[in-house]
Structure formats: C-alpha cells, structure tokens
C-alpha cells in the first residue's frame, strides 16, 4: 500500500507539558481527497489537526508529508513545505482589506501571485466585490471564505481547515461545503475538522471518528454514515 500524501501516524501528545490528549491517533489524507475528522466535543479533533500542523509537542508518532518526515518542523516551516492551515478562530486580519488579507497569505511568495489572486476571486466571487472592504466588516460566512482564500494564496499542496463552518447559518454552511468541494476538485487534498458530522461525512472521501483522543472508527464517509454504531453514538440515530 502506498503511503498517503499527508499522514499523522500514531500521534501521542498534548499541549506544553500537560497531559496527553491524543493517544496513538492516526489521521491521513490522500491526494485529491477530502478527509474529515469528526467526534464528540472534547474528543481531540482540533488537537489532532494541530498536531499534524506542528502546534503541539508529539511524544510519539510522526507526521509525514509526501513521504518526508516533518515532525520536527515548526508550523511556519510547514507552511513553506506546502501546508495551508485555516485556524478555527481569528483566522483573518480584521483591520486589513480583503485583498490585503489575500496578499498577506502570499507573503512567502516572491513571484507574481496575481493569477492565484484571480483564481481565488473566481472561486469566491463575493470576495472580489468586497476586496477593498475591511475583512472584519464581513459576515461570518464571508470571513471564512477570506480565511480559506488566504490559506490558498501560498498554493498549498494540502489544505487543513479547523471547523470552517463554526458559527455560520445552515444555508451558508451548505455554500461553504460547496466551495470546499470545489477547492478539492482543483486537486488540493483537504483535511478538515467538523462539528456538523452528517454533512461533513456526506462530502468526505475518508472519515475519522475520534473518541477521547483515540481513533474510534474510520472509513469512507459513506461507510461511517451507514455504520449503525457511529450513527447511534454521533449522528443521532
């Protein structure tokens, strides 16, 4: 079996010198796929994602990107390696305009990034209309689009989203999921954490259900949706 494009394998660790939150947890995403991490509150979903991105100390396991061990790299270096990360909160520069947010996303690029900018405006047309407005003045759904757009500016090889639909209305949520699928169609693998398990598994190629920092169930989105045990415990029957 060939190795997945991005894999956090047997990750064990926690924040600082605190207790372990993840126990032997494995998360992976293949090229061109959407992988979703779901699970009850406090299961360590966001923590697992942060571990993959290097924001906490691993006491065991490894993170590999395209076969290369990146466990020792700082988050900033992982961005340079081609990982795009959208944090759950304060994921935009509120006092900067939409366009400046996107420009800052491309800060590490020294080449001309105007076509990437145009691509992102194609993907999120609303951002083009609002490009000179301060990002902090936008609605929740639009802010999330700015956040995703900012992360895409580096032309990442893999995009990681931490609860992109947190705090937005159901209609906006559907729209955001549509956009995320569109991003995935451009060939960028996506790893995301979601509260709305049913909708997320619906669009996922691969799903991980975490339970208390451990892999509970994993499989394709469909398998998990049809798994009676998963349905009973997480999807409300």
């Amino acid at each position: 079996m060939s190795e997945p494009f991005l894999i956090g394998e047997n990750m064990t660790g926690g924040y600082g010198s605190g207790p372990d939150i993840l126990h032997d947890c494995t998360i992976a995403v293949e090229k061109g796929e959407i992988a979703v991490i779901v699970g009850p509150n406090g299961a360590g979903k966001s923590t697992a994602m942060k571990a993959v991105f290097g924001m906490l100390n691993l006491r065991g396991g490894a993170v590999r990107l395209d076969g290369e061990d990146i466990s020792g790299l700082s988050p900033q270096d992982r961005v340079i390696k081609g990982m795009g990360f959208v944090p759950q909160t304060s994921n935009i520069f509120t006092s900067l305009t939409v366009e400046e947010n996107l420009e800052m996303g491309a800060f590490i690029r020294r080449d001309d990034f105007s076509d990437t900018l145009a691509q992102i405006y194609d993907l999120f047309p609303i951002l083009k209309d609002k490009r000179l407005q301060a990002a902090g003045e936008l609605s929740g759904g639009q802010r999330q689009q700015v956040a995703v757009g900012r992360a895409l500016m580096t032309q990442p090889k893999v995009l990681m989203l931490d609860e992109p639909t947190a705090g937005v209305s159901p209609i906006v949520m559907d729209e955001l999921f549509d956009r995320i699928i569109e991003v995935a169609r451009t060939g960028i693998p996506i790893l995301m954490v979601e509260q709305n398990a049913r909708q997320a598994l619906d669009i996922a190629d691969k799903g991980y259900v975490l339970v208390q920092g451990r892999n509970g169930f994993s499989g394709t989105g469909k398998e998990l949706l049809n798994n009676p045990e998963v349905r009973k415990s997480f999807l409300g029957g």
Partner: protein, 336 residues
C-alpha cells in the same frame, strides 16, 4: 476692526502655537502607538528617545555650524536631521538586541515590558545628560520668522500682530510630509502591510510566513525616525532641555490614548486634541475678549481658566475623561 483684531490675537496666541505643538505631539504619539500596536507595550522611553535623537542632531548641527555649513534661511538642524535619525536608529536597534529581545523570547507580559522600558528610559535619560548636559541648548539658526508681528501690523494696519515662527512653519510642513509618507508606507508597501497584519493578528501573521524579528526591526527604525523628527522640531520651536522631553511623555501618551492606542490616525487626532486643549485652556483671554466685549464690559481679570503651570493637568483631565467614556479612544485602537 475689533473683531479682526480679536481673531488675529487668538490666532497668534492659540491657533499657531497649538498647531505646531499639536504636530509635535502627533509625531511623538505616532511612535508610541506603533510600538504599542506591534511590540504590544507602552514605551516609556519614548520621550528620552526623542531627547537622544534631538541631541544627536544638535551635535551634528554644531559640527556643521563650526565648519560654516548652513541651510540658508532654514535651520541647519534640518541638514543634520538624517544623521540624528541614523544615530537614533542605531541606539534603538541596539536596545532591542540587548534588552527587549530577551523579554520577547520569553513572551514576557506587557506589564513587564513597560517596567523594562522605564529602565531603558532612565539609561537613555542619563546618557543624554551625560553627553550634552542637563541645561538648555539653543541650536536654531536661519531666519527666525516667516512673518513677524511688526511686519504683519505694517502689512495689514491692524493693532494686533500675527507672528509665525519659521520653526512653526517647518514643524507643520515636516509633520504633513512625514505622516503622508508613513501612511503610504503602511498602506501600500508589502513591508508596511505585513506590519499592520502583525499588529492585527500575530499568530496568523506567523502562519503567513511574516518574520516577526523583521517586523520589529522595521518598527524600531520607523519609531526612531519619528522620535528624532519630533524631538528636533520641538527643540527648534521651544528649546532643547532633556528634562522637558521627559515631561513630554505625559501629553504624548495622552494623545496616543485619546486617539486610541495602536491607531495611527488616532495618534494624530489625539495630538491636536491635547495641544489645542492645553493651549486654549491655559491662554489668558483678556485681550481677545477686550476686543469683542461692548464698551465698558471689557474683562478686568486675565480670563485664564488655569495657569500655565498646570498645563499637564489638562492632558491628565482629558485622558481620564476619555478613559471613562470611551476607553478604546476616539478611533477605537487595540485593547490591552
């Protein structure tokens, strides 16, 4: 005629001095607000940074004057300014390297950095007194007035004169240029935008690959430039005495806080609010009212709200009023 005289007197004693003082405060407050926005602490050493910048410029000015270099009608100090700025940039970068960086690495609490900046303040204060002495120094030369009171009276035939000092003119013009360049830099250049991004959301700036050490370095360079210009302009307008620069800290902080800490526009607005309040409240309106009041109603007292000895109380009072009613300042800066 009396009405015109009243306006001219008011302009001469309030509007002109307050405008140049306001511009000096605004430049000082911009430095404070930039440090607060990007390095996230209140820099108490700012007044003494201004003193150091002014001192370096004065030393170079004296050097120029002794070899006969001058700037015609303009003060020689303007020629020496770039050297003063360079020296101050050197000092601030050295301070950052030796002092602030240590605390930044430890992610020290802002309160600790404030105390650290007080230490830096005392050292800079001592350094300046050690080099140039605690006394008043005069270094202005060139033409003293753009228009003197006598010329104005002859020109207009009014009883009141309007004098505009060259230093006041230079202050306002320089301040406008500096502010335009600063805003262009912050809003249009990649480095300027990265500074605003860093000030807005440090974690996200790091994720975007913005190098914090670089942002900090540019910040100190800009702060040194602003502080030196503000210090030299203040010295040209009044005179240079290290202690007055230390005292300027209060109105400068008041300006930055009134405008909203972290907001450059606020710093400028705050500078003028403080300057105009200070000058207006401590001005004796006897003369102005004398022209305006009907026959026999002229005031017999000075009509001065408070004595100039208490001018710092004005900054304090405004500061407290703003903190009570709009704690984020007029232009809603950052919250600590």
């Amino acid at each position: 005629m009396d009405f015109l005289n009243a306006i001219v007197a008011f302009a001469n004693f309030v509007i002109v001095p307050a405008t140049s003082y306001g511009a000096q405060l605004a430049l000082g407050a911009l430095g404070v607000t930039l440090v607060f926005g990007i390095l996230r602490f209140s820099n108490f050493a700012h007044g003494d940074t201004m003193a150091f910048g002014a001192m370096s410029t004065i030393l170079v000015t004296w050097g120029f004057q002794s070899v006969g270099i001058n700037f015609g009608v303009l003060p020689t100090a303007l020629l020496a300014l770039p050297f003063g700025i360079a020296a101050t940039i050197g000092l601030l970068l050295l301070t950052d390297r030796t002092v602030y960086r240590f605390y930044r690495k430890q992610k020290a609490n802002p309160v600790i950095l404030v105390i650290v900046s007080m230490g830096v303040m005392f050292i800079m204060n001592g350094l300046v007194r050690f080099i140039i002495g605690p006394n008043d120094q005069r270094f202005g030369d060139g033409e003293r007035f753009i228009i003197s009171a006598r010329e104005f009276k002859e020109l207009t035939g009014l009883k009141e004169g309007l004098a505009i000092k060259t230093s006041a003119g230079i202050t306002v013009v320089t301040a406008i240029i500096v502010v335009v360049v600063l805003f262009w830099f912050l809003n249009r250049t990649r480095t300027g935008k990265s500074m605003r991004a860093f000030s807005d959301n440090e974690d996200l700036a790091l994720l975007s690959g913005i190098n914090p050490e670089r942002v900090v370095m540019y910040t100190w360079m800009i702060v040194a430039t602003l502080a030196t210009i503000a210090g030299v302009l203040y010295g040209l307008d009044k005179s240079f005495k290290p202690f007055t620069y230390f005292q300027l800290l209060l109105p400068i902080f008041a300006s930055a806080i009134v405008g909203g800490l972290g907001s450059p526009v606020g710093a400028i607005a705050g500078g003028f609010v403080i300057a105009f309040s200070e000058v207006t409240i401590t001005y004796a309106f006897k003369k102005v009212l004398g022209y305006l009041a009907p026959e026999g109603w002229e005031p017999t007292t000075l009509v001065q709200l408070i004595s100039t000895d208490y001018k710092f109380a004005v900054s304090f009072a405004i500061l407290i009023i703003v903190l009570l009613f709009k704690p984020t300042g007029l232009f809603s800066g950052k919250q600590t």
